[in-house]
């Protein structure tokens, strides 16, 4: 029974759902605060994201007449559980928990795609034409960024480098394995191929979060929040929580795969927090200095330059750079 209680604690409280959600809400405050500072405003107080979510949980949930009600209501919770599970897997590996999971990089990639899929299905289930437009854009965007994202993550898996006289390579898909390799041989980002792959993965994560310039699925000025247009109350609140979870999970995943996680050689816990904050601030600065792209421009960017750079990084990684 003790083991079972420990697992429940690990998955539900720390480092699972409660911890990563609170962290994500805090990071979404960092996002809004830095945005305000860039625009020379004062910005919201630190408690703002929490109040937003509490308010949404207390509001009426309207189910549109023309919608597929069952799917419309359940899909935000599907998105939330997938993001929470992905966050839990990443954090379990990061804190070096003795509880081992069979979930590796591929599982995390699948889980990170589910929130987008749930939003796409929810948008089409709402029966709103603008929701359908947003869902179709989200679908194209998902196909656009997944390809370079996967290739960029593979760079970390296949990077070869000389260690002493021998040549080492991580060649493992397990998150713990990647961390162990970086502890032994230095972080992935310390080599040219790692830098290129990190930049590509950063931009793909940016698009996954739906930030400007890749927010065309939620463009509030033209299609009124896109796929989430019909959501209200608790359902919308859970979509906001999902976004907060992704905002804490994606930077943590990037630091884990490319930047040595919380390893002693990589700066420990303080270094980890600094890196996550740096990545989030980079997201916010990109978001605030770029206008929204069209869907064809986004597709051309991700399947063109981004994929080419990711492939180049993969070749460099194989050559030992």
């Amino acid at each position: 029974m003790g083991d079972f209680a420990a697992w429940v604690f690990l998955f539900l409280v720390f480092p699972g759902i409660v911890f990563s959600t609170l962290l994500g809400l805090t990071l979404s405050w960092v996002d809004r605060k830095v945005t305000a500072l860039v625009q020379m405003r004062r910005g919201p107080p630190a408690s703002q994201p929490f109040w937003d979510v509490v308010k949404l949980l207390g509001k009426e949930v309207v189910v549109p007449e023309q919608s597929w009600a069952a799917g419309f209501i359940t899909l935000p919770f599907v998105a939330f559980s997938a993001a929470a599970l992905a966050g839990t897997l990443v954090w379990l590996a990061l804190i070096g928990s003795p509880v081992t999971t069979v979930g590796d990089l591929i599982v995390v990639l699948y889980l990170l795609a589910i929130p987008s899929l749930a939003v796409i299905l929810g948008g089409t289930a709402s029966g709103n034409p603008l929701g359908a437009v947003g869902a179709s854009r989200d679908m194209k965007l998902l196909m656009a960024y997944e390809l370079p994202f996967v290739i960029a993550l593979l760079v970390a898996v296949f990077q070869k480098r000389p260690v002493g006289a021998a040549e080492a390579s991580a060649t493992t898909l397990s998150l713990q394995g990647l961390l162990a390799f970086q502890d032994a041989a230095g972080s992935i980002i310390s080599r040219p191929s790692g830098v290129l792959a990190f930049l590509v993965a950063l931009l793909c994560a940016h698009a996954k979060l739906g930030f400007v310039p890749f927010d065309l699925a939620e463009a509030e000025t033209e299609i009124g929040e896109g796929a989430v247009i019909e959501y209200s109350g608790a359902a919308l609140g859970f979509l906001k929580l999902t976004h907060a979870l992704l905002l804490s999970t994606l930077p943590a995943l990037l630091v884990l795969v490319f930047w040595g996680g919380m390893g002693e050689g990589a700066g420990g816990v303080a270094g980890f927090i600094g890196k996550v904050l740096l990545i989030v601030v980079l997201f916010v600065l990109i978001k605030n200095t770029n206008p929204r792209v069209r869907i064809d421009q986004a597709l051309r960017f991700f399947w063109g330059p981004a994929t080419v750079v990711a492939l180049l990084a993969l070749i460099l990684a194989q050559l030992g750079w």
Binding site: P44, Q48, V54, K55, G58, K59, V62, I229, Y231, S232
Partner: protein
């Protein structure tokens, strides 16, 4: 605030999300509403956000005297907002029709039009042509105090 106010009411006061409906006004009040979002006034300090869909909103800012063409869309947008919901009539046209009173093309004012479909709707009135951004912010804050 009464001691019995639930945590949800407190949260509503901390994060009122606003949906803006222009019902064929002269665009002057709409510009003043946009001014509230600028760095000088920065309504995000109070948690106020402008949202793109009435489903996400708690407060509806209404400008203009409601022309015939705007009548049904305004009623529909109001019914689309999840409860609890409140309205703010911004500008003299939205309060009492102003210069458009008795004109053949308008059917307002907006509070009357909305009460035809939702008799319990609550409103705050912000007169002025146009009202200053400070006045609009003060109206929203006062409204939240009344909840």
């Amino acid at each position: 605030m009464p001691a019995t106010a639930s945590i949800f009411t407190r949260a509503l006061k901390k994060s009122p999300w606003v949906f803006h409906v222009g019902t064929s006004g002269c665009n002057n009040c709409d510009i003043e509403i946009a001014d509230c979002l600028t760095p000088r006034f920065d309504v995000e300090r109070f948690g106020i956000r402008l949202v793109g869909s009435p489903r996400h909103a708690d407060v509806m800012l209404i400008t203009g005297p409601v022309s015939r063409a705007c009548r049904e869309p305004l009623q529909q947008a109001w019914l689309d907002m999840p409860r609890p919901r409140v309205g703010v009539c911004v500008g003299v046209c939205a309060c009492s029709m102003g210069a458009y009173k008795d004109a053949y093309s308008v059917t307002g004012p907006p509070d009357k039009v909305i009460r035809e479909v939702d008799p319990d709707a609550k409103f705050v009135y912000v007169p002025g042509c146009p009202p200053k951004p400070e006045t609009i912010i003060m109206a929203v804050i006062k409204l939240l105090g009344e909840l």
